[in-house]
Symmetry: D2
Subunit: 284 residues, 4 copies
């Protein structure tokens, strides 16, 4: 491959980086909260980059967003009200809204400018989900919002940037925050959070900590991992609930997907969860 | 991360490359067949690089070698004689020899110099397996060897470099070669081959072709994929046999591992195969 | 320095490349003749890149354009009519027009789109020179234009992309083309051409060939070299004439600059030419 | 150019880096004082890298070492005793010893291990100069050595790593150190120091400061700059003396070189100094 041209460089772990050839830089700037870039590449299409980290790309965001949303939603028998923390691209919202049972989705993303940039530049991510009448979109602190009380949620989906010490989301991965979130869950409610890199060399960055923190706050916790090509590594998710997280066997799960989700899925199906959602595989 | 210092650059797919910070270059040269490097890095320890492509690394080779060897070996009820094509590092040989049933392992690696470099520089890969009295090691063309007739094998493990047009192994991924190999399998015999990258952006490079070729030559074929960190992507394997490839349920598989393999495994266990060895997931 | 972020990579010579951190990609596309990018960086400001090679940057283009234009113009006692081949950014035109003696400047740049992109994106390069009433700008083949006959020129300035075999300008560095150009020079006329990299490792790519070709076509030839930071190497220029190329001593040259050029120069002065314009230093 | 393979990355200035394809890493380790690498590349041959910065390369070290040593030596009418601070590769020593007048050369390099690595790995740098009977080599602090008194020197050559705050040589670029060095100069003595990058974007890193510091400590100071390809930029030198630094005209200088230096030079000659050693060109 040719070295010449324009490249986006991103670190995967200490001493390891990825170079992605760029087709265009659609936006490069900063909001009140973070640096933002919207990039375009032959390999991954359009991507959102926050503080130098790829959040999702047009080509493979379905793997990430389906893995984040559907296992958690399907653990709940009938999710009507859903809370989304973060998720500025609108892909998480899109997957949540595909559940026929959903009557309201409340999305809180602190950074209004990021959401506006995504609406303008990433139409294949959100696919109009922000215009769905079931959606309430607010730009404020998710913690304060959850703490302030109000109606409960059946599912809480946390689609936040990784918990870097200097980042905007650091306080949304703590035991304290999870207790606040849990207090807003309806009985039988389920919480899921993206949980950072989950490969052999990097799963200890935050994945195992998040799993263990959630295991202490909730009665049940399950970990999942999936390969997201744009992240160059396995990616982790953690699902937690005080209700049991019981896997359906394969045919039952495929039937549940067909019955409860109003569109075909591209990644998640009955063949995936036994391999992907296995708490026993989270290293101590 | 700091850009300065020494780096190894490797392409993952067109327009995408990985930079790995180097601790040392232990060997850099060429044999009669290929360019060879033995590198050392903080992230992956010692690694073998052939014609610019990472073959395996000290830190994560167990994921690759266990995934290549054990599912195939365990599909066979009692593998006594095993053929290995390629596998110069000795890691495949090491895993094969861990099966208590194995009475002979015949390893054919064309490139004597590569094997000698691995014996000298990669002790944590081979761990002395070349000295096992059950081993016959020869340096010649695997195809000619298999074609020349002789005793049959219960399992054939192909651990070859990817089928690049200009590479040494191109002719060892063809329908013609697979028929030659099959002719040397004992009744009920199993063949497995490493099958190249298996992620969303690159599984069509060779993985799907290999699966479909083997599906035509054998009655049964199964595909597996696993994340190998040093390859920066999912990696594919294909298992083929004229005997049915029947999965044991989880407890049975863990028991089989404990009963048949003389050492603890680090990656492969009863939790893995349902998610990893699923022919249905190979795209058309 | 941090590796993360967006970078422009350019090769300097075989096995050597430069990475420049990008602030923005202002344009990326292709015209009928070549790939074009307008980049922006902290280090060099806005730059024009044609077929992957940096042509000039906002921060240091004055070094290149003054070195290309002024020594050649000052070798001529009274240049009134000037021909410019290439020079799409308008920087060469700007320096030519700064000579009080110039009555007409005819600029032929094949690629109309590049010139329009430069007019739009590189105002600090051309600084309005395209609007000067002395300028005739045409978009056609420079060779055909010169060959077609018409008024002669006192100075011909060739500011073309390097003579790559697949490039647009390859035929404008030949002995045949130089004879065509020479035929359009008025008596005592001077020709100057940018001549590619002139550092120790790369001066043989084209610099020495151009010097020797011009030495055969003209009675006198002189070579100059100057360090252009954005090119990461010394850069070469060759001046040729049938009239003697006689250096003025330092005070005389400073006086000539002050008398003949209508603006202060930023790089070229009496201290530079003895070190920079020395035919003896071109290797055989 | 191909991205794949092994590369050495070095920063030139903020946001700008160079990638050099490596042929081999001959040594990589650390002494008591600094990180040391001996690299080998097709472009530059063998090179010494200290704390990540290239010090000199086999292919172009003659440009650096001739430019450091000869102008300063030739400003002195008859240099018999020379002091060298740093210069572990032995190239500076080699050039000093080429002066027929030299009776003794005292080289103080703090880091014995670096000198030993250079003697072992860089024979084309030192070319046996360490074995010359006129040489005294010591490994101690240059400042303490000069301060401790003893015989005076006709020329002091400082070939130290750049004055980085965390580096070993920071205190050897101060006004205080220059006064100590000056006290050891014989009447009419000359001091020269390498002075860091001297290109448009980076000459203010240390070059201008060194020139101004030396201008205050000595009656006369002269700056030189030369393009060293391996440094990817112009490089600065500063010469200082209480005796006038008077340039000889070109034929006289060529004669002086022929008369006083016992070998042919490859870079420095009568054509160079007027362009290279010009105090007026150091920006304020």
């Amino acid at each position: 491959m040719e070295l010449t041209g324009n490249w986006f460089a991103e670190s995967v772990s200490p001493d390891l980086a990825v170079l992605l050839r760029l087709r265009a830089v659609l936006f490069s700037g900063a909001t009140a909260y973070q640096k933002v870039e919207v990039l375009d590449s032959e390999v991954f299409g359009r991507s959102l980059v926050l503080d130098g980290k790829t959040q999702s790309t047009e080509v493979d965001e379905f793997i990430y967003h389906e893995s984040l949303v559907h296992p958690a939603m399907l653990f709940h028998p009938d999710p009507k009200s859903v809370f989304i923390g973060g998720g500025g691209e609108g892909g998480t919202l899109r997957e949540v809204l595909a559940h026929r049972s959903v009557e309201s989705a409340t999305m809180i993303d602190l950074d209004r400018e990021v959401v506006e940039l995504c609406r303008a530049h990433l139409p294949n991510h959100h696919r109009g989900s922000f215009d769905d009448p079931r959606v309430t979109l607010r730009h404020e602190d998710a913690r304060a919002f959850l703490q302030s009380g109000g109606d409960g949620f059946d599912v809480i989906v946390l689609d936040l940037v990784d918990p870097l010490e200097e980042g905007t989301a650091y306080l949304l991965y703590t035991d304290e925050f999870y207790r606040i979130a849990k207090a807003r869950l309806n009985p039988g409610g389920v919480l899921v959070t993206q949980s950072g890199p989950a490969g052999l060399p990097n799963h200890r960055e935050c994945f195992t900590t998040i799993f263990h923190t959630l295991s202490e706050v909730f009665t049940h916790a399950a970990a999942a991992q999936v390969h997201v090509p744009a992240f160059q590594t396995l990616w982790g998710f953690t699902i937690a609930s005080d209700a049991p997280l019981q896997h359906q066997p394969e045919p039952g799960l495929d039937a549940a997907i067909a019955g409860r989700i109003s569109k075909p899925l591209r990644h998640y199906d009955g063949g995936n969860p036994p391999g992907n959602v296995r708490p026993a595989k989270v290293p101590a």
